[in-house]
Amino acid sequence: MVPLGALVLTLVLAEAELELVPESIKGHPQVQSAARNRDRRAARTLLDASLHHEAMRQLPESDRRGRPDLVHFSLLLALDSALNKADKLRVVVHTRNDERIAIHPDTRLMRHYPRFVGLMETLLREGATPRHNPLLVFEPGWTLQRVLEHHATGPIVCFTEKGSPIEPGTWMEAKVAQSPDLTVVLGCFPHGDFHHAPETFANEVVGLGGDALSVWTVEMEVLAHYERAVKVFPRPAMESSAQPT
């Protein structure tokens, strides 16, 4: 646990569309073929909309499920960020099936997507990776509420398309002035709403206005403005604000 007042942004990637192929479609020819190509058993492969779109039509909420790519890019952006390198960021993934993936800030995630998929399949099967001194830990039985009770630092803010529109720069300045620690919840699904009303788990529900945005677009705004508000990268005393020469 991070001590209070340690200037930490906790980023929760919530209701992430990351799951193994459900039992009901594991026998579908498309799922079987994709698994055979990877020399794996179908039930041990991740559901992936780019490979299983036909088979997924049989699933409820099929238009938003099977998106490990959203988790991959969101995690890369978070773990690569200046904020994480300054040890001011904690990231945790909550999945649609109420599981939690705890991620050590030192994790260097593979950039090659098929390898990331392989890593997640191992993680979902074995519960931790690497086996000794694990950097990633997966556990079932974690509702979003429980994840927030355990991980949240400072006020909990949820960003959604329908939230009250904010201007992120000034909003973040004001927020950090009240409490340097902050927890931001982002929906890690391609579209639609949270399964539980954000008002039930967040102190504040905000949005960037306008069209629906990718999870990484909102994440980018959050990372940049928190980084600025807590002055992660201070300018040396001798340097003034930069102007083009």
Binding site: L77, L223, T245
Partner: protein, 231 residues
Amino acid sequence: MRPRPLARTVLTFVLGECALELVPPALHVAPSVKRRSRERRRAPEHLLLDQALDHEAMAALPDAKRRGRPDIVHLLTLLVQDSPLAQRGLTRLLWHTQEDALVRVRPDLRPPRAQPTFYKLCEDLLRQDEVPMGRPLLTLERGRTLADVLAAEARGPVVLLAEEGRRMRTGDFATLAREHADLTFVVGGFAHGDWRARPEADVVASVSASPLTAASALVPVLAGLEDALAP
């Protein structure tokens, strides 16, 4: 703040010397390449060089550490093209490759989310110079050095993102956007080492105390520009 019509604003993003190329002839018989060629039913010369897969074989290549990183191009393209700025038609994205090719990304391109699909698109682009054929979203022009690209394509002051530059944060990029109708940002599309030919720039900006990937370096830039140019 100086008011100006949005339609005039052009924010050009140049991913310079990016590590995007097809497998070079010296590696066509490498085991990793032959295996991938068999699995994907594509000729070795039609596959992207990928450090994640060709790491061992690439040891024999000159400048191996800087090459074979199409993932950098993918992430940066997703970040720029999905940004609200791009949705409002204010951005222009150009890739300049280490082989001195210029790729123009059509502003309405919605990049494939799936990395394998994006890589296949790049493979087709590097073979046939445009994808899709006829109404291209990506077009490639060969024989364009980075200096040449910037001389011809840069609009407004050129800002180079580099570790040793002047420290700039989100607010500084917002200030730049308020002061200049057009801006050009150049970021390195390679993972290690220095520029082969460092581009000339009006501002050299550093956004972090530690080295960042191209996409992460653009995070404060895009957020600052959005701050200044939000409708």
